[in-house]
Amino acid sequence: MVKSIILSIIALFAATAVFPQSVLLEKDQNESVYVRQKGPNKKRFFHLYYDYSFYAPEKGTSIYNKELALRNYIGARNNFRVANNYVMGVNLEFGWETFRIEQTSQKTFPSKGTHKKETLSTTNLGLEYFNRLLITQREGSLGIWVDAGIYGNLNLGSRHVIKDKADPADEVRYRKTINKGLEYLEPFEYGVKGRLGYKRYAIIGTYRISDWMKETRSDVEPPRLSIGFELGLY
C-alpha cells in the first residue's frame, strides 16, 4: 500500500514536472512607480497598526491604579491622499481598555470589599476619522506627519474581574470572579485623537470626551487622557 502511494506521488510529480524558462526580469509599465497608486505616501495606502497607551493620572485622588490604566488596540488604516501634503483617513480598530482599581480601606466601588487584584475592562470596536498633514515629503515614505481625528468606540463587552487568594483548603492558589455586562458602563464612547509620526512610528494621544461611566457612577469616572506609542505594520 505504502509503496503504491509513493509510486503514485512520484508519477504525479513526473507528470506535472515543467522546466520553466527562468524569468530574470519582468516589468509591466502599467505597474510602474509613476502609475502606482498604492503604498506609503501614494494616493491610497492601507496598513495595519498596533497602538499601546497609558492613561495619564488625573489631579486629586483616583480609585484607579496609575500604572495599570491601559489602551491596547490593533487596527486597519485606510489613507486617501487628496493633496500633496494632506491625507484623509479612516481607522477601524479593535481592542481593550483596562483600569485596575486600587485596593484601599476607603474603597467603595464597585463594592467595599478589598481583593488581591480588581480590574474593569471593556472590549471595543472603534471607528476613527482623521486628517493628516505630511510635514516632510518623501517619495514612497511618510516622513514626518501629524494626525488630528475624532473617534467613536462601541462597547462590545465589559468585565469586572476580581482575583483573590484561594482558601488554603482549596486546591488552587487563586480564585477569580468575573462579572460580565457591567450595567454602570456606557455602551458608547467618543473623543479626539492626535498622532505625531515618523514613518511607521508615532506618539499617540487620545482624549475621551464622553463619559465611560453612566451618570449614576460619575464619581468614579476613569482618566480621560492617554498617551502611547503606535507602530505601523507595513
Partner: protein
C-alpha cells in the same frame, strides 16, 4: 555669604521651557539661509567672446558645432553683485548660466534685496541630499577576473591594442575628494604625463583636492586607472579636471558648488563631464524626474548645449521605493548609465530603472556595476552605478578620440548604437553594453538566415521560440530579451529570460494593441513583429 534659593521642580521645568522657546525664537529671527538671486538683465561685455570665454571653451564649441556664445556665457553684472553685498548678504559663487548669484542672508536682508530694481526673483536654495551612486566597497583586494571582465564586457581590449586611450579629450570629474590620486601607483601615468590639468575645491576654495572622500579616486580610476599592467579604465591618455563639490556622502550638498563646477568645467574646456551623483527622494518626487523640473537637470542640459558630453549614473535605487533614476540622469541630453553584472551582462539588482516620468528611455546604455577601483593607497572591489559611469566615460573618450569631428550629441547617439542589444532596448539595460568592435566595423552584417529566433502567431497567442540552445562563452548572449513597444516609442512591457527550452514563451493576444511592436533579442539577433 551666598544664599541659595530652592525652586520647585515645576518652576524649573517652566523656566527651562521658556529659555528654550526664547533661544529658538532668536535663532529663527537671525537664521541665515541660502538663496539664488536672479538678475533681470546682463550686458554683453564685448563683441569678442575671447574676452570672456576661455580659448578651451571656444575651441570645444567650434568642434561641437554648438553656438559660439550667447547671453548665458556673459559674466554676471559685477555692479549688481556689489550692491547685493552692500546689504550685508554674503555672496557665494555667481552663475553665468542662471544669471544669478548664490547668497547667504537672513529674511530681512532678503526682503530688501527682493525690492531692488535689478533683481528678477529670489529663490531659496535647494539643499540637495546627493546620493553617491556607489553602494559598498570591499576590503582592499585585487580580483583579476573582475578586472578583466570590466574591460572585456565593453570589448575595451579593442581600444587598448590599437593604442586608443582618450588622448586629446578632457574629462571633468565632480566628486567629494580625490585622496591618493597624488600618490597611488594606479594614477602614476597621469602624474608623470601631467594629465591632471586643473583642480579646484569648491567647498574650501583652494586647489587642493587630494583628500576627503575616496569615492572620487575610485571613480577616476574607472576612467583612467592602471593596476600593474592592466587597465582599470580605458581613458588612460585623457586630460582631467578634478572638482571637489561635495562635503560628505549622503548629506545635504549645496547646488551652488555643482553649478559653479559645471561652469568651471565649461570654462576650462571639458569635453566630457563624468558625474556619479544623483538627487532623489530628499527633495523631489518621482514625477519630477521628467527632464525639466530639477535645477541640476536643467544645468546638465545647458552643459550639453555648450558641447559637453554629460555622462551620469542612474543611481542604486532599483530595490528601493524610489526605484527610478535620480536627477540629472533624467535629462534628455545626459547619457545615463545603468549597472550590469560584468559576468552575466544582465541588470545588477540595485541599478535604478527607467524610464523618465515622461516615458523617455533611461538608462541609455549600461556597464559593469561591480568593478575593481582605486582606494587611497591600493585597489578594492566596489559596487554601484558610480563605477559603471566612469567606465563608460573612459570608453566615450576613446570613441571621441576616434571621431574627433563629431559633436557631443553625435557621440551620444553612436554610443547608444554600439550597445550590444541595439536596436532592442529596455528600462533596465538601455541599449546594452557599448561594444568597441562597433567602431572598427568588425561587427559583421548579421546573416538573418541564421537567426535562431522565431515569432509565430498561433490560436493561443504569440509564440516565441528559439532553435539554438547552445551556451555561448559570454553568458549574456544566452539570455533572451523581449519588449512590447507602443506606437509612441515607449515600452509597455519587457522581460529577460534565461532560455532552457526551444519554446520560450507564449504571449496572450490581450497583451497587444494595434500599432504595438514585439521585439526579441537573442544571441546577437533581433526578430520583430508588428501588430
Amino acid at each position: 555669604m551666598v544664599e541659595i534659593k530652592m525652586i520647585s521642580l515645576k518652576k524649573a521645568v517652566k523656566l527651562s521651557f521658556l529659555t528654550v522657546l526664547l533661544f529658538s525664537s532668536a535663532l529663527t529671527i537671525n537664521a541665515q539661509e541660502k538663496y539664488w538671486i536672479y538678475f533681470k538683465n546682463k550686458t554683453k561685455p564685448s563683441e569678442n567672446p575671447q574676452e570672456y570665454l576661455s580659448s578651451n571653451a571656444l575651441q570645444r564649441r567650434v568642434a561641437a558645432r554648438s553656438a559660439i556664445c550667447d547671453s548665458t556665457d556673459w559674466p554676471v553684472d559685477s555692479t549688481s553683485i556689489s550692491r547685493i553685498k552692500a546689504t550685508g548678504a554674503t555672496a557665494g559663487y555667481p552663475s553665468r548660466w542662471l544669471n544669478a548669484v548664490a547668497v547667504t542672508a537672513n529674511k530681512e536682508t532678503i526682503a530688501r534685496i527682493k525690492a531692488m530694481p535689478f533683481v528678477k526673483s529670489v529663490e531659496p536654495m535647494q539643499y540637495f541630499a546627493a546620493k553617491q551612486a556607489s553602494l559598498r566597497n570591499e576590503s582592499p583586494k585585487a580580483d583579476p577576473e573582475l578586472l578583466e571582465a570590466q574591460i572585456k564586457s565593453m570589448q575595451g581590449q579593442e581600444f587598448i591594442k590599437r593604442g586608443i586611450n582618450g588622448k586629446g579629450i578632457r574629462i571633468a570629474v565632480f566628486d567629494g575628494g580625490f585622496p591618493g590620486v597624488d600618490t597611488n601607483p594606479v594614477f602614476e601615468h597621469l602624474r608623470e604625463n601631467h594629465q591632471i590639468i586643473k583642480t579646484y575645491d569648491f567647498v574650501k576654495k583652494t586647489e587642493f583636492v587630494y583628500g576627503y572622500m575616496t569615492h572620487g579616486s575610485a571613480v577616476l580610476s574607472c576612467i583612467a586607472g592602471i593596476y600593474g599592467d592592466k587597465n582599470i579604465g580605458l581613458a588612460t591618455g585623457a586630460e582631467f579636471l578634478l572638482a571637489r563639490t561635495e562635503i560628505k556622502p549622503e548629506i545635504k550638498v549645496e547646488e551652488e558648488y555643482w553649478m559653479a563646477a559645471m561652469e568651471w568645467a565649461d570654462q576650462n574646456g571639458a569635453d566630457i563631464i563624468s558625474s556619479s551623483l544623483g538627487y532623489t527622494d530628499k527633495r523631489y518626487t518621482v514625477k519630477q524626474m521628467n527632464g525639466r523640473s530639477t535645477l541640476v537637470t536643467r544645468a546638465a542640459t545647458m552643459a550639453a548645449k555648450k558641447g559637453m558630453l554629460v555622462i551620469n549614473a542612474m543611481g542604486n535605487d532599483g530595490r528601493e521605493n524610489w526605484e527610478v533614476m535620480g536627477a540629472p540622469a533624467d535629462a534628455d541630453s545626459v547619457l545615463s548609465i545603468g549597472g550590469i553584472d560584468p559576468f552575466t551582462g544582465y541588470h545588477i539588482n540595485f541599478s535604478s530603472f527607467g524610464p523618465t516620468a515622461d516615458y523617455r528611455l533611461k538608462p541609455n546604455i549600461c556597464a559593469p556595476g561591480a568593478a575593481i577601483v582605486a582606494s587611497s593607497a591600493a585597489v578594492k572591489k566596489g559596487y554601484g552605478t558610480s563605477y559603471s559611469t566612469p567606465l563608460v566615460s573612459g570608453f566615450a573618450a576613446c570613441v571621441w578620440q576616434l571621431n574627433r569631428e563629431k559633436s557631443n550629441m553625435e557621440i551620444f547617439s553612436i554610443m547608444e548604437k554600439s550597445g550590444h542589444l541595439y536596436p532592442y532596448f529596455d528600462y533596465a539595460h538601455g541599449y546594452g553594453i557599448p561594444q568597441a568592435s562597433y567602431f572598427f566595423k568588425e561587427k559583421s552584417p548579421v546573416d538573418d538566415t541564421q537567426n535562431p529566433v522565431k515569432i509565430n502567431s498561433t490560436t493561443e497567442g504569440i509564440d516565441i521560440s528559439v532553435s539554438d540552445l547552445s551556451k555561448a562563452e559570454e553568458k549574456y548572449l544566452n539570455y533572451l530579451y523581449y519588449h512590447i513597444q507602443q506606437p509612441d516609442g515607449s515600452l509597455k512591457y519587457y522581460a529577460v529570460l534565461d532560455v532552457t527550452q526551444n519554446d520560450v514563451v507564449t504571449l496572450p493576444f490581450s497583451k497587444f494593441k494595434k500599432g504595438d511592436l514585439l521585439r526579441v533579442y537573442y544571441k546577437g539577433y533581433i526578430r520583430e513583429m508588428n501588430f
